[in-house]
């Protein structure tokens, strides 16, 4: 119909020729590679189901009430529980939360308020980098910082190590939640003459609270499963029992602070620490118990994770309308 140059016809012919032979191959490659990605997804999830299933199967057999309420029996005896480790986990995690939350939340306020200042960029950068520092290195740091000057292992040192570990998670989730607060809302408050800090607390706090809670939950989930930073800070203590400490303290008329000090200022155990020790012992009953510890630990961690995710999703939906 129209004048076309010789070259264009040549290429159309070329393309047409090639297409007949190439198209089937391209389609096959497409189909094969796309199904491969699906296959990879299945492959990646196999370990998850395998681990969760096996831990439930093995751990479920060991789980009973004693497990939660008794201290360990001497080696070679059946029964007994891991009460000491449960208490220790709670103590360490609480300490970590107390140390990590205030600075974490305030730093998140800064990151959300001044994201583009040099300090803001540097803060987010170092938060990201901090989250990549191996937990065992943080353990060494806490050892040098607390254990060595104090001269003994303690739950306090473990709590501080855990706090450093929790910090990035808390900062990041809180910051994300703060950013979700509509800009108009904060400007509205500022325009009404409310000072910056008041705006931060009254307008942003509800949002921040959500961030703190999710960040807190996720951080706890991570901390509760961590072992490496505790190896040479909290060390472990099979005789640890808060009930006994409190009873003795009350009997000796110790003050609240003295009792508190005895709770945090001595080596304590934690669930993952117990699991790590039990799994490597040559006593079958201890190994069996380690599966139960794994089950408790996993349920705890997964449950908190799911809770936090649900919470975040619900919040996001509400804030974004």
């Amino acid at each position: 119909m129209t004048a076309t140059t010789a070259t264009s016809t040549r290429f159309q012919q070329l393309i047409a020729e090639q297409q007949a032979s190439l198209t089937p191959r391209r389609k096959i490659v497409n189909a094969v590679m796309l199904s491969l990605t699906g296959l990879m997804t299945l492959l990646a999830l196999i370990p998850l189901f395998w681990i969760v299933g096996y831990v439930i199967y093995k751990g479920g057999q060991q789980l009973n009430l004693d497990f939660f309420t008794q201290l360990p029996r001497p080696l070679g005896m059946d029964g007994g529980g891991v009460l000491h480790a449960i208490q220790g986990t709670v103590v360490i995690t609480l300490l970590a939360a107390v140390f990590a939350t205030p600075p974490g939340v305030l730093a998140a306020f800064y990151a959300a308020r001044f994201p583009n200042t040099p300090l803001g960029v540097a803060l987010r950068f170092s938060t990201d980098v901090l989250s990549g520092v191996p937990s065992i290195v943080i353990g060494l740091f806490a050892y040098a910082l607390i254990v060595k000057p104090m001269g003994h292992y303690s739950g306090l040192a473990g709590g501080i190590a855990m706090a450093i570990l929790m910090l990035p998670t808390i900062i990041r989730t809180t910051e994300e939640m703060l950013k979700l607060v509509p800009h108009a809302l904060r400007e509205g408050s500022l325009a009404l003459g409310a000072p910056e800090w008041k705006t931060s607390i009254i307008v942003l706090f509800p949002a921040a609270l959500n961030g703190v809670i999710t960040g807190f939950l996720l951080a706890i989930a991570r901390a509760a499963g961590e072992t490496a930073p505790l190896l040479f800070t909290a060390l472990g203590n099979e005789r640890y029992d808060i009930g006994t400490i409190v009873r003795n303290g009350v009997a000796q008329n110790q003050s609240f602070l003295q009792i508190l000090e005895r709770i945090v200022d001595q080596p304590v155990d934690s669930l993952p620490l117990t699991l790590w020790k039990y799994a490597q012992q040559p006593y079958p009953e201890r190994v069996e118990q380690s599966w139960a510890v794994a089950l408790v630990l996993m349920i705890f961690v997964l449950l908190i994770n799911v809770l936090a995710r649900l919470w975040v999703e619900a919040r996001k939906r509400r804030l974004q309308g």
Binding site: R26, K27, N30, L34, T37, G38, L39, M40, T41, A44, L45, L48, W50, I51, V55, P102, P103, L106, A107, F109, Y110, A111, L119, G120, L123, F125, S126, D128, V129, L130, G132, V133, P134, I136, V137, I138, L140, F141, Y143, A144, L167, P195, E196, K198, A221, G225, T227, A228, L231, P272, L275, W276, A279, S290, W291, A294, L297, V301, N305, V306
Partner: protein, 344 residues
């Protein structure tokens, strides 16, 4: 400016009844409370950054004697190294080697799988499946390291690693050059560098997948449309357009995964066999930097032993610090580039 502000002050004072004066004064103080507030959050922000420096400085100080005693020889590769707490003679090369070998093997195995999962999640899977998949991958990351280790010792090593290791010994172990890495035999328990590498693969897949998925999702859909409209198949679009577009971000994801693999402690310590033998083979037991610290630190007796372990921690810190910085910069670059291009 000054006059105007003064004017505002004056109208305010006029409008407030005299008995409320104390209140207005308080209000004026709290209004200027902005500076303390900002000071607090700035201090906290600085604190977080100082923390990084403090970690480095502390480990540097606490390893001073070891650094002085062993110098660079502590870190350099050599064939006959010694780790001898009795005679206070320490060289860290076997641990560095074990760390690098297991982490790199894990990365090589994890890249194709993670890319596959990320592509499936961002490009292929139906909407209703995306959320559950996200969750499952996150749960994979949430399982505590010790639980991986426990499962590794009693299930994964005997059922998977031992047979796979045996097969590798039979096949690759006979190939010249490669056989250095595959001399065996693998111990019947399966405790080996190969086992550690496999466990690490499983553990870093969520990291690489999540970042890669975010990178892919951040690519404007106009790029996909451009390729598809030219007649590219979906795979060609992904492979020739999307992956190159997000390349630096994906590279960042991989480096992030490598950082995780280098520092992972508990699971590796439980499956790697913890032995200082001379063999460089993947199929033999070994040690990593993290696992030797985990195993020996609490029981270290001499000062130099403790310090040598801290120095290993210092090296590990620098390695992961470097990798994480590079990775974050790469990921940030993609994130920052995207809006500009979308604006066009």
């Amino acid at each position: 400016m000054w006059v105007v502000e003064n004017g505002i002050e004056m109208t305010k004072q006029i409008s407030i009844p005299p008995e409320r004066h104390w209140f207005s004064r308080l209000q004026r103080i709290t209004r200027h409370g902005d500076s303390p507030w900002q000071a607090i959050i700035i201090v906290m922000a600085v604190l977080v950054m100082v923390l990084m420096l403090a970690i480095g400085w502390m480990l540097w100080r606490e390893s001073a004697d070891a650094r002085a005693a062993f110098g660079w020889g502590f870190l350099t590769p050599s064939l006959d190294t010694s780790w001898d707490p009795v005679n206070d003679k320490f060289e860290a090369w076997p641990f560095i080697y074990g760390t690098l070998l297991t982490a790199l093997t894990a990365i090589v195995l994890a890249i194709p799988i993670s890319l596959g999962v990320a592509i499936f999640m961002s490009e292929l899977c139906p909407d209703w499946l995306r959320m559950p998949l996200n969750w499952l991958v996150e749960l994979l990351a949430a399982i505590p390291s010790v639980v991986y280790g426990l499962w590794g010792i009693f299930v994964f090593l005997p059922l998977v690693v031992t047979p796979v290791g045996g097969a590798l010994f039979e096949t690759l172990g006979k190939v010249p050059m490669l056989n250095v890495l595959f001399t065996g035999p693998i111990p019947p328990s399966g405790a080996s560098r190969l086992g550690a590498a496999f466990i690490l693969t499983i553990m870093i897949i969520p990291t690489i997948t999540a970042v890669t998925r975010d990178v892919l999702l951040s690519i404007p859909s106009s790029q996909r449309e451009a390729a598809l409209a030219l007649g590219a198949t979906q795979w060609e679009t992904i492979w020739q357009v999307l992956l190159p577009y997000g390349l630096s971000g994906i590279l960042g994801a991989v480096i992030l995964g490598l950082g995780r693999a280098l520092g992972e402690t508990m699971a590796v310590t439980m499956v790697i066999g913890n032995s200082i033998e001379g063999s460089p083979s993947l199929l033999r037991p070994g040690y990593t930097m993290a696992s030797v610290i985990a195993n020996e630190f609490a029981e270290a007796v001499t000062k130099l032993h403790t310090q040598a372990l801290i120095e290993i921690g210092l090296v590990l810190f620098f390695m992961t610090l470097l990798l994480n910085m590079v990775a974050r910069l790469l990921v940030w670059r993609v994130a920052r580039r995207t809006p500009q291009e979308a604006r066009a």
